[in-house]
Amino acid sequence: MLDTIGVDSIDALFSAIPPQLQGLCQFDVMPASGLDELGLQQFFKQFTEANLAHHYDCFVGGGAYNRFVPPAVNHIASRSEFYTAYTPYQPEVSQGTLQMIYEFQTMVSELVGLDVTNASVYDGASAFSESAVMAVRIAKKRHTLLVSKTVNPHYRAVLDTYTGVLDHINVVPVDLTADLEAQCCAVGVPPNQVAAVLVQLPNYLGFLEDQAMVTAFCKAHGALKVAAVDPVALGVMAAPGKSEANPDGADIVCGELQQFGNYVNFGGPYGGFVSTSMAHVRQLPGRLVGCSKDRTGKRAYTLTMQTREQHIRRAKATSNICTNQSLNILKASAYLSLVGPSGLKHLALLSAQRAHRLADQLCRMTGVSLMSAAPYLNEFTLILPVAAQAVVESMVASHGLVPGIPLSRYESYFPNQPHALVVAVTEMNTPESLDRYVYALHHALTQLGAQPGPEPRMPAPAAPGLPKSVMSRSVPSPHVPNHKGVVQHV
């Protein structure tokens, strides 16, 4: 090969790189030699064995949920032809990915009740931020966004990051249960300068807040409504998008699709979506697949409206996003086509049934109550008689159970809520695990000095399948780098 090229060494091919750079290029931390495949499997054991979460009963949600993933989903997602293809720029050899995305767009549009859905963005939080910035583009000369204080704190944090660098956008957190006009005036924003009101259904705390005030505000002042939604809830919840049948609906709906066939994966990769009406389609960020024809008249799919995107519009694109989360939405599509409309409704109901049963039992304890009387589905927030963080620590340590997210973890978005605990329940939490939860909470409250009332029935033995060695190990010790920070391989 070198002869064909006409050089006598590999080094000659790198002659454009200044020699002083090449001389400096030594690795100090990475080992010089690689591992064989078996060695690699063994190397990763130190990490997999140090992870304990999957041995615990987990009642944690807050934007990602441990749900049943039917094996057929990953069977399809691991097909080489989907898995090792690139973005479908050449439609003639990418019809599989393109049709899959078109079907995905249709399914999500059906769920949310809007015309069009993009081919996905990174996750729910970036979908929320992209939706917010999109609303400002649509509203043209209006630059204020009202964001409900009950929106997922991660979504709000990402929104703050995205809009923090855009001097023209002003984000005002609001309380949806109080007068919105008054809250605008309090920060000196005339209501007719509001581009959009951003809400979450159900909100971070799990509750469905009454939307009458938001609807009235948007109508009176011509603001758009942006709703982040829980996609599983859409199995039972009215489609949130604005339509003839639902004139009070949201102009833009966005959300996180992880629950459809994707594992929680310590935060990613997931997939976010943005849906809207055809009237606003030109402002959508991210890829879109359209159905067209080939030159013989056969139905054929292609990426379309690409002039919105960075590779054509460059600095004037609707977003800088390049990838979509194709493989994650393939999982979502495969999931939705397996469960269908009745399966999705069923799973939403089953989770909600268990959540309500758990909440009812927990609220029988003295000093334990729901934070709101608003309706909820599979997630709710409890007010405990003691600090929620302490309760979590106690239940994790003594009962092999993670009971939820202490709201104090997001102090800057939910100030002064030390006793609040956000609890999520899915079909993965068995009825037996609910009993263990009730018992464990009672035990934890008692230990922490509260008097929760009569002790509940002792549940079935704790966490079947949980190895003793795991239970007894409080501080796991995975591999330990040596003093130079060099990771040992053996």
Partner: protein, 516 residues
């Protein structure tokens, strides 16, 4: 919107025996009452309707079910298997898509990414329960620092463009911290990826384009003229998008720094220089890595990716939070307590599964192996370039790095109807994915070829043979090329109609799914 009377025929797939089968949409396959998975019943024999009434007020209830597909598991599997067979993928054949590093990823890396002990860890569990994941991420941070020469890494960005956005935000924060709000311009070469100007614009910067010189490199005079006290930064890919290493890189970064600007490195082409040069040594202040591209996560039809950012001491305080850190007792924690950090850029911490595959890849190759990866990638590209330069016009004659560009100028001289797109489409008939075409925008009728290190000489030779034959066809049987592709499941797609008669949703544009 298409009328049902003119409904086009359903697309077909050719199976191994050359038979065609129709591939209807899921909505056309749907039949009321079918379901592809069995699910546990409601507890205590509860009734769905009664339960719905008890938990959800009337006004919140869904009245019309979403028209999701109702298909059996077999129908669902067949549908997607059939669809998959319409795709070209690396596991099928050569995929020399320039700028995309379509390399083969060892399946062992997927094995790592698919371990339930990683997959089932919820991001909000107490960190004591996720020490394995945190330890792996910490190790990855250490390796990426070593690879790039930077002192700090954040694994948070979800993709390359997301990393660019983070980097631009950090640069903005840095200048503001210096009290310098007048630095509003970001310099971007005219050959840059579209994400560069888009990311700068998303941060509120004005984009100033720098012309390339006749050798395809940054024109130092143009750069000098563009630098001013308004310059916030330059964004560079090196090797650049025409596959050439910026030989003057040390002067470029020095000039930008002297003007008070910072230097951003787009890591898209890192595959060419691993073990040969560290990005920090070139004078850059911050960069992103495309871990899915340079290391190991198959592209999945467009994603997911992952775009960690690495930075030097100057920009380290602004890295997005949290970062993974280690306590003296050897345990790991997520450090949110970084007062100057950019806030959060995505839900939770990063695309963990993709990052784990990247770590697997790095451990699999080791430092020497990575150097060999780059050497082989550069060797393959130069070999292909040498074999093809007789047949196709080569705008830049220098030794290339991991990719190179050609144009259809010679073929167009013979027949002006022939263009690069036609040649690209004809390649599909030979079973190859076309190179990247019409990018970068600085050269007309361009094709950018990146063979990657994982391809054998035999595959490269087969590709050369096809390219030479197509050039011959362009001369002798131009219609064969102009009408290509001929053997793909669908022929040339009408992209004009796709925009003018926008059809983005099955139900809005087609008759209701049959059978319902």
């Amino acid at each position: 919107m298409s009328e049902s009377s003119t409904k086009p025929a359903l697309p077909t797939v050719r199976d191994a025996h050359g038979n065609t089968r129709s591939v209807a949409t899921l909505f056309e396959l749907s039949r009321t009452g079918r379901q592809g998975v069995t699910l546990p019943p409601l507890d205590e024999g509860a009734d769905e309707t009664a339960l719905m009434q008890s938990i959800l007020p009337e006004g919140w209830q869904r009245k019309r079910p979403a028209r999701l597909p109702e298909v059996s598991q077999l129908e669902m599997i067949r549908h997607y298997v059939n669809l998959s067979q319409l795709n070209h993928s690396i596991d099928n054949n050569f995929y020399p898509l320039g700028s995309c590093s379509m390399k083969y990823n060892p399946k062992i890396c997927d094995w790592v990414g698919n371990q339930p002990a990683f997959n089932l860890v919820h991001p909000e569990v107490p960190q004591a329960l996720a020490q394995g994941t945190l330890g792996a991420l910490y190790t990855l941070q250490a390796y990426l620092k070593d690879l790039t020469g930077f002192c700090a890494v954040s694994l948070q960005p979800a993709a390359g463009a997301h990393g660019e956005l983070a980097g631009m935000m950090m640069i903005r924060a840095y200048h503001q911290r210096q009290g310098n709000t007048a630095r509003t311009e970001v310099l971007v070469p005219d050959s840059a990826h579209g994400t560069n100007p888009a990311s700068a614009a998303m941060c509120g910067f004005d984009v100033v384009e720098i012309k390339s010189n006749e050798r395809g490199l940054v024109d130092l005079n143009a750069l000098r003229a563009a630098l001013s006290d308004r310059t916030a930064a330059i964004m560079l890919t090196n090797p650049n998008t025409v596959g050439l290493f910026e030989e003057d890189i040390l002067s470029i970064t020095q000039m930008v720094h002297e003007a008070g600007g910072l230097c951003y490195y787009d890591g898209a082409n890192l595959n060419a220089i691993m073990g040969r040069a560290k990005v920090a040594h070139m004078g850059f202040d911050v960069m992103h890595l495309n871990t899915h591209k340079t290391f190991a996560t198959p592209h999945g039809g467009g994603g997911p990716g992952s775009g960690p950012v690495a930075a030097n001491e100057k920009l380290e305080p602004f890295l997005p939070k949290p970062t993974v850190e280690q306590r003296p007792d050897g345990t790991y924690w997520l450090n949110h307590d970084r007062p100057d950090a950019l806030g959060q850029l995505k839900l939770f911490y990063g695309n963990t599964e993709v990052l784990l595959r990247a770590l697997a890849y790095l451990v699999c190759y080791g430092g020497d192996g990575l150097r060999e990866v780059s050497e082989k990638a550069v060797l393959n590209a130069n070999y292909l370039k040498a074999r093809l330069k007789e047949t196709y016009h080569e705008p830049f004659t220098q030794t290339c790095m991991h990719e190179f560009i050609l144009t259809s100028r010679h073929q167009r001289a013979d027949n002006k109807d022939i263009n690069t797109m036609a040649l690209a489409k004809r390649l599909m008939d030979y079973g190859f994915h076309p190179p990247t075409v019409y990018f970068p925008l600085i050269i007309p009728e361009i094709m950018m070829i990146e063979p990657t290190e994982t391809e054998s000489k035999e595959t490269l030779d087969r590709f050369v043979q096809a390219m030479v034959q197509i050039a011959d066809e362009a001369k002798t049987q131009p219609d064969l090329v102009l009408d290509a592709p001929h053997t793909t499941p669908v022929k040339r797609v009408d992209e004009v109609a796709a925009v003018k008669q926008l059809d983005l949703n099955y139900f809005a544009n087609h008759a209701q799914g049959a059978g319902n």
